[in-house]
Structures are given as structure tokens and as C-alpha cells.
Symmetry: C3
Subunit: 344 residues, 3 copies
Amino acid sequence: MYTRNAWYVAGWSSDLEPGKPFAIRILGEPIVIYRAVGSDRLVALEDRCVHRLAPLSLGRCEGENLRCMYHGLLFGPDGVTREIPGQDLIPPKARVRAYPVVERASWLWVWLGDADKADEALIPPSIGPDHPDYIMGQGFLDYDAEARLINDNLLDFSHLTYVHAASFEAGDQFAHSLPKIETLDRGIRYSRWAPNARGPVGRRSEDLLDNYMSYEFLVPGVLLMWSGGFPAGTAEACAFGPPDRSQACANVTFTSQAVTPMTDGTARYFFCWGPHRDHGDEKLRDLLINLALQAFNEDKVMIEAQHKIIALTPNPTVMPTAHDRPVTIFNRMVERMAKDQSTG
Amino acid sequence: MYTRNAWYVAGWSSDLEPGKPFAIRILGEPIVIYRAVGSDRLVALEDRCVHRLAPLSLGRCEGENLRCMYHGLLFGPDGVTREIPGQDLIPPKARVRAYPVVERASWLWVWLGDADKADEALIPPSIGPDHPDYIMGQGFLDYDAEARLINDNLLDFSHLTYVHAASFEAGDQFAHSLPKIETLDRGIRYSRWAPNARGPVGRRSEDLLDNYMSYEFLVPGVLLMWSGGFPAGTAEACAFGPPDRSQACANVTFTSQAVTPMTDGTARYFFCWGPHRDHGDEKLRDLLINLALQAFNEDKVMIEAQHKIIALTPNPTVMPTAHDRPVTIFNRMVERMAKDQSTG
Amino acid sequence: MYTRNAWYVAGWSSDLEPGKPFAIRILGEPIVIYRAVGSDRLVALEDRCVHRLAPLSLGRCEGENLRCMYHGLLFGPDGVTREIPGQDLIPPKARVRAYPVVERASWLWVWLGDADKADEALIPPSIGPDHPDYIMGQGFLDYDAEARLINDNLLDFSHLTYVHAASFEAGDQFAHSLPKIETLDRGIRYSRWAPNARGPVGRRSEDLLDNYMSYEFLVPGVLLMWSGGFPAGTAEACAFGPPDRSQACANVTFTSQAVTPMTDGTARYFFCWGPHRDHGDEKLRDLLINLALQAFNEDKVMIEAQHKIIALTPNPTVMPTAHDRPVTIFNRMVERMAKDQSTG
């Protein structure tokens, strides 16, 4: 169950060339996105011609309009038909749905709910490769699995100990102790101190640090994580609460990740990661992205296998553990939103 | 919705070697066709042994009979079991369906309706590579799409302007003006003059011609198209009605095309095309076939994509345009035939 | 319809390395089998973690236990959860199903029914590559077909005349005369004399022999076949009844074969075959296994094609012949067992 009243990541800005329509499914709906050639205007339409249901994504951009290249109907950026070759009359119903679409933090965000509720303030405050303070790499992975299973994975980092033992060399503490969880308006916040530790994998240090990581996981499925190392003793000095991030002395990185449900059984997982300029360079960025690709493929193997097991199970039920609290909070929140929108 | 009371093209004669059973699905039914070794008799049977439902198309031709090569039952060309190894008694119900099958104009035609209604006069008067007046190439393409969508495509040539802009360089007139449409007993006739034009692609001329094209599209899904060029002024002299074809001065060609529904989501599209002997040679035939292959693949990309969009749409409805009149006429005709046969 | 109260072959012992979990589906159920590292204990569990349904077969063997490598739950060989990282309490329902599993005659046998009915006396008395008297090769083939169709194939050897005309050069007698069939408690026995014949393919002899073959086909789908040649005259001397096998003078071989239903439309077919030590060597074993692979692929082509035809047939019904008596007896026996277990 997913909420429509949310901004979903549809792609990386940099993957959308002007004048080249781009197709994606979100919540099962076929959507075409294009950037007008002259004006750079961004448009997202239902990817289904009103005439005979051909995909507009096989069409041709003409200024701010998009022409279906089957029988030539022309659509404006509002989804309204502008031309029907061979006839003068354009019936009022000749329109496809237009979706609010915004470009922010290097991502294309599409609002799936009622257009009049499309509040840009609800776009999660992600940081992308265009941010001046970070040096980020980016990518995406396609999953043959339900998006919710990826959300669940990202909401419970106890899997790091097992799934990512090889890649992140995550250690036991992710599974054996519970993080701090806070409930937010549209998500949860996770935070964890690892005091008296070496730096993380790829950045092991001689000196012991107090490492801090904190992420928000926000509707519809966006993870925004900051992590960094502090002088030993900081955790205790903060009473294991949130530190003053400006005091971090090592290894500050940020990662934004977004899970987009394409169909019932497929999802696209977008991610970027990289060091703060004061804590790394392009070389470290590449190291982190390679590490991430290794780790995210470890997740993919497990989650796609889990998806298959669930699919063959008559009445699949889970047995939540202590680590599942954020999973449960988040999923209930989304269910409530989905219910509100269907009754509202 | 398709009518059973029709002759469907099952294959090219030239693809059926004597003694080699050939399998095809038509309207979802598994059918095996073979040419007897001694007699050249053509047989079409249900491709499903009465014993344990093995496909007879994996069987062995023995004269005019076909032996199932699983447990050895032998079937006559009438579908009646001739032998059951290991027992003498042959139960009366031990028979598979035999389909009327006819070889004509290089095609194998199978009647799907009641055998006693199989009137050969209903076979569309196609012209094939065996015709003395034309020099034709032939082929087929398999579609992952419903056959009706290919019929719709062939019934509305306004798509030439868009889908085949590159291959046929068709120009705007196909979309911007309406052709003449006549309703026939079992189909429609489409015709169009293009006065004062150069010859068609691949055969561009210095002189201006009046080009005429006319096709019939006949139940169950057969297109038979004549086209040719006339001296400028002919169109007007004919009051834009049909010309005397014997007066054509250039570029006379003929194409026969047939769409066969295999299953709900697959179809086979057969085609041949070539110049009249007085208007071309083998070289031109090859040029035309290559052009057709390019164009038909353009159609295939669009129609398979359209099929996918329709499949994911809960209640797919189309919005017919002025160009859809022949589409609507033909589909209603087929629906009526399908209804008649089910109530008749 | 299959019975749960039976031992199903899950694999070859030799394919199960200590400490490496092995996944298989049987009757649709996901099962993981592993051999403990220290103790060589064999364990079969439901391949689905109680927590979030991840497959335990992606897990890690720890002594006799198996750890889910998603979030770290640890399961004992009885299926009971031993550890849940991050919490002390282990709910009583936190257990996966444990299946009785036995290693015998080189096969891993899993009992699908109620554990308290798992009687090892019901394991078919197969002979495998570990048997001192035979020199056997082994293998398996995966089918995209329902297991029952493979059982049916093995219960009616009249197909040898047709399907295996090329490989086994089986001759007409398999189809044209009926074998002797006896009904057993959990299966049937098939036997057949071929008097005054050369040896079988690959072992053709100058002298005429009386060849005898006899197999049992036992629930759930296990074929155990002995064959050998006797001095001419033996068949008649035995009144065409079973011979004294110790008097065989040539070509004694044994083959064990097992059909395991994985899902509704897939099955795994296990087989071994080879000569008695007194009648052959490794070279003959290799010849026989290559012959078997050729023949079993002939079966596979036919049965998978049959499966597809059945799948597209609205109400598939078969028309049994005289050769189908053992097929009918066996299938009714299995249906009765399946019914008994569901009402019992």
C-alpha cells in the first residue's frame, strides 16, 4: 500500500536530455517526462494517447508540446490535445493526465496525487550531486521486487551486520544494540553513535573516533543520511544525543536514496553518496560509490529472493522484532495516508 | 473479438515441405498442417492427440496419415484414429478435429468455423508470389500484440505520416486529408489520389504523376493493395474516382498482407510485395521488400508498445477520430459476424 | 494431485557439501537442506525465515544451526529459533517447519507429510552409485512440465517404440504387445520378456538371448529397474514368469529414477544407471549414461510440449489405451492416498 499524495523520484535530472521523452511507471501508471527544447520547461504526462492508447514516450517533442507519433495527435504540457490530424473539432475529453513535476537536488520529482495538493514543501530535503558542499557519485538499480521491501530494508539497519558483512564490514553493533528512533511528521529519524571506533571501511583510522550516523526516512521512501567522525569522547559529552555536526573531524559524508514503486513487483532504487568537500575528493567518492554498488547488490540478491518467497506463500505474515519498530511506524504512517486519500 | 467463419492464413506454401508437420496456433487453437508425401494432399488437424494430448506436430507423416510419436496412435487426414498400438478396438470418439485447408496464391488458408460452411469463395482474392504478372518478395513477422491492433493499423493509413516518416517518406497528406472509404460485404475499400506528385520513395521521378492507391481490407484481416502512377491530370479526368488501371504509366505494384491471431496476445503478420512485370524487376522487388521490412518494424515497435499500455490499463477505451471510420466499420462487421456465429 | 505422505528425492548426496545450504521446491514448498559441518547431521527446514520471509538458503551454517543472513535470526535443526539479534525474548511461534530427511542409496529423501508418520520403511529400495555391486553414473534433468506427466511416461513403456526409436532402437514389441503388470502396495510392477533377441543397443550380441526387464514404479514416483540377458530358452522354461536373476548371462544393469514435483509446472528428474560389476565396467557405464541422456532429452521434448498443449486446453481429458492400465492404477492409488491424508 502506497500513498499517492507524495513526490516520487522519477529519475536523475542529468538523464533527461532536452527533447527526448523518457518513460517510467510509477505506482503502475505509465508516465512520460520531457524537457521542452526551447524553454527547458519540464513536463510529465500520462504516457497513453487518448486516441488508441499508444505511448506518448515514442512521440516527438515540438517546443513545449508532445506529438504522438502513431497518428499525430499533439498534446500541450497541460495534457490537453492541441491537434487531431484530419479533423478540426477537438473533444473536451481529449486530454491526458498532467502530473506536477519538479526538478530539485538533481532529481525529477513527480506528484502522484491530486494536482491541487501538490505542495513542493513536501519534497524531502535531499542533497544531490549538484550540492556545492558534497562531491557525489550517483546511480540507480532496478529491482524485481516490491518497493516496500526495499523501504523495510532501509528502515532496519540491523541487516548491515549480516548482508553487508563483506562490503561495509559493518560489525555486530548494528544488530546487537538498538538505535535511537524518533517519529517525524512524514517519516522517522534513526541515529546511532559508535564510540571508540576506527573510521568506517575504506577510511580506517589509527586514532579512535566517536562515529555518528543519522538518517531520516521520509514518505514515500527517501533516505537522507549524514555520517561523520568526532573526537573520542564526543558521544559521552553529548549524552549520546545529536552532536554539533560542524565539529566533525573526519569522514563526513552524505547519501540520498529514493525508492520508487514502478509496478506491483518492480521498483527503481536511486542513490547518490559522497564526502563533504572538507573530508574527501573525487577519489574517495569513487571508492564510496563502488562500495555502495557492492552493498546494494548484496541487498538486491536478498530482497529479490525474499520477494519470490513471499510471492509463493499463501498468506504471508511477518514476525516483527525489536529492530522493526521504525519499519512498523513508517508502514502504518503510509497506510494511514493511503487510507486518508481514498476516503478524503 | 474474431470471427471463426473465415479463412485464416496459416503460412506460406513454400514453407511447408512434404512430410514435415508444421505447427501454428490460430485463435488460440493448436493446429498442425502437413503435406502428404506421395499425394501432395494438404491436411490440417487439431494439434493434440486424443490419447494424452501430445502435439501431433512432433509426429511422423506416413503417406496421408500422421502418427503421434509419443505412443504411436495413427490419424487419417479426416482426424479419425486409424491405429492404437496394443489394442484392436478404436473408440468412435478417438478423433481430432480436421480443419478445411486450401492452398491459394502462395498461402495456406485454414477455415476455423464449421466445416460445412467452409466456402472457398470467401477466400480473399489475394495475389501472391506465384502470380505471373508480379515479381514479389515475401516474409512474415511475429508480434507480441493482439491481432486486432495490427488490423486497426492497416485500416488507418494516417499513421504513414508519423510512423513511416523515415521509411516511406509518406508526407503529410495521409494524415491531413481523408481517403475515400467504401463499405464492402466483408470489409472496406480505401482509395486515395495524390495528384501532381513525384513517384514514391525509391522511385522518385522527374515528372509529376497522379499517384493512385487503393486497397481492400477483408475479413478476417487481409489487405490487398494496388498502387500505380498515371499521367498528370488523370485524377481530375476521373473526377478523383477509380482510374482505368491499365492506363497506369509508372510504378504499378501489388501487396497482399494477412494478419493471423495466434493467441490473445500474439499474432503473425504475413506479407508480400512487388512490382508488376511491366514496371520493375527483381532489383526493385528487393528494394521494396527491404523498405517494407523497415516500415513493418516501425509498426511493430509502436503496436507492441501500444499493446503493453492497453494491457496495463484497467478499462481501456479509445477515442476514435475522423480517420477511424474504416476501423470502426470493420470492427463492427467482425463483431457482428462473431455474434452471429455464436448464436447461429 | 500428489500425496504428501511419501519420501521425495530432494537431491544427490554427493551434491550436498557440508555447510552449504541447498534450496529446492517440493510440492511447491521452499525447502532448505544442509549438512552440519561438525556432525554431518542432515537437516531440512522450511526455506522461509519467520521474521520477514527471507530464504534461509541464503543463510550461513553455524554448527548444526542455520543463521538467516538478512537480520541474523538463528534456527536449530528442529526449526526452532535460537537467537533474535537485538532482543532476548523468543516467541514460541518463532519456528519454521522441520522436515524428516534421510540419506539413502546416494539420495536425499524428504518426507512431506506429518512428521510422526515418517516411516523410513516407506523409502523405496533404490540402488544408487554407492552400491557395491553396480558401477553407476548419475544425473538429473529439470522439466518445465508437471511431474505427473513424467510419471505417466515411465509407467507406459510403449513410448519406447516411438520416442526412443533413435536412441534405444527399441523396436516394435514395446508398443505392439502388452507387458505383465502387477499391482503392489505402493506402486506397480512391470515385466517383459524379449526372447530370441540380440542384446540391447550398445551391447548387440552375435548370439540370441532371452532378455528380461522388470521394474517397480513406486509412490511418489520412483522407478527401480533390473534388466539382463539369459540363455535362449530361459523365458519359455520360466513359463514367461520371472527368472532366477542369478542365472543371467549377459548385460545385467540397474537403473533408479525419481521424479520430484517442484511446482505445479516444474519437476526434477533424477536418474542413475549402470552395469553390474560382473557385466561391465566404467566404459560401459559412460556409454549407458550418454545413451540415457539422449533418450531422456527425447522424453523431455515430448513431455514439455505435451504440458504446453494441456495448459492451453480448457478441459483437458485423456483417452486411456490398453497400455495405460499401470498409469491408471498408479494415479488412482496416489489420488486415494492424497484424499486419505486430507480427510485423515
